[in-house]
């Protein structure tokens, strides 16, 4: 059976792309995760995960125009596919279900 749930890193990347929007590319995704989750990520690892997600049909990508500030290199923009949104939702539901009714994680009201 193919894997439908995401790893924490893949989930973070997927959510970062959704948060950034249509113009999500490597640097912005890394900055979004750093700013929101406080986790500094390696761009190479992020691209490996992005390739994996694209291979599974959870995201799609397109190549933009080369820009001089990037040494004439083009940007690769990422978009989350409907299947990716569904995978993120499935993962969220699975995590919330696991979270629920765990005594050690219940908030203590004094």
């Amino acid at each position: 059976m193919p894997r439908s749930l995401l790893t924490d890193f893949e989930l973070m990347i997927l959510l970062a792309i959704l948060r950034v929007g249509d113009e999500a590319y490597g640097v912005q995704i890394a900055r979004e995760i750093e700013a929101t989750a406080g986790r500094r990520i390696l761009l190479g690892a992020a691209y490996a995960a992005l390739d994996r997600l694209e291979g599974n049909g959870l995201i799609s990508s397109r190549i933009g125009n080369p820009t001089p500030e990037r040494g004439g290199r083009a940007k690769r923009f990422f978009l989350v596919t409907p299947r990716g949104v569904r995978a993120a939702r499935d993962t969220q539901q699975a995590l919330v279900a696991l979270w629920r009714d765990v005594p050690q994680l219940k908030e203590r009201h004094t």
């Binding site: 190479g44 291979g55 190549i63 940007k75």
Partner: protein
């Protein structure tokens, strides 16, 4: 004030070892403008190479014990491409070409400076190796077999 450039060797290595690395390299260059640290750039490049190679190996792995329907649809094509990829290696595209020649030149220079007498040992070894080789060939060489000769008398008798 001039802006620091991203390390060229690191960029070349990334392009050599990571397939379709153009957007990643662009991202690294863009981020390098923000934090111009060569150590940071090198660290990013090395981890990117490791991550890409690992990811590539896992992606191209074909597991024969899996059920057929769980194989990727292009498994055979990928397998074929992989074989072709390892067969055809363009060494001229390598950023490390010339390192061997440079290394040999550096070694020669170093030996000449540090211990020039070593060259006599190298020369003597070469001559001795040559003599031994010739000796071995001479010992194992078979003498040419005598070809049958036709005498004019025998022709006349026929």
């Amino acid at each position: 004030m001039t802006r620091p450039h991203a390390p060229c060797l690191a960029s070349a290595l990334l392009e050599r070892f990571v397939p379709d690395s153009d957007p990643l390299l662009g991202d690294l260059i863009e981020d390098f403008e923000r934090r111009p640290s060569r150590c940071w750039f090198w660290w990013q490049v090395l981890t990117a190479i490791v991550a890409a190679r690992w990811s590539l190996d896992r992606r191209e792995e074909i597991r024969p014990l899996r059920l057929v329907e769980l194989q990727p649809v292009d498994a055979i094509e990928r397998s074929r491409q992989r074989c072709l990829r390892f067969r055809a290696i363009n060494l001229s595209a390598s950023p490390l070409s010339g390192v061997g020649g440079l290394g040999l030149a550096a070694l020669t220079f170093l030996v000449t400076i540090v211990s020039p007498g070593t060259w006599w040992v190298v020369l003597a070894s070469s001559v001795a190796g040559l003599l031994i080789g010739v000796g071995i060939i001479a010992m194992h060489a078979k003498p040419p077999e005598a070809l049958p000769t036709i005498r004019p008398d025998s022709l006349r008798a026929q």
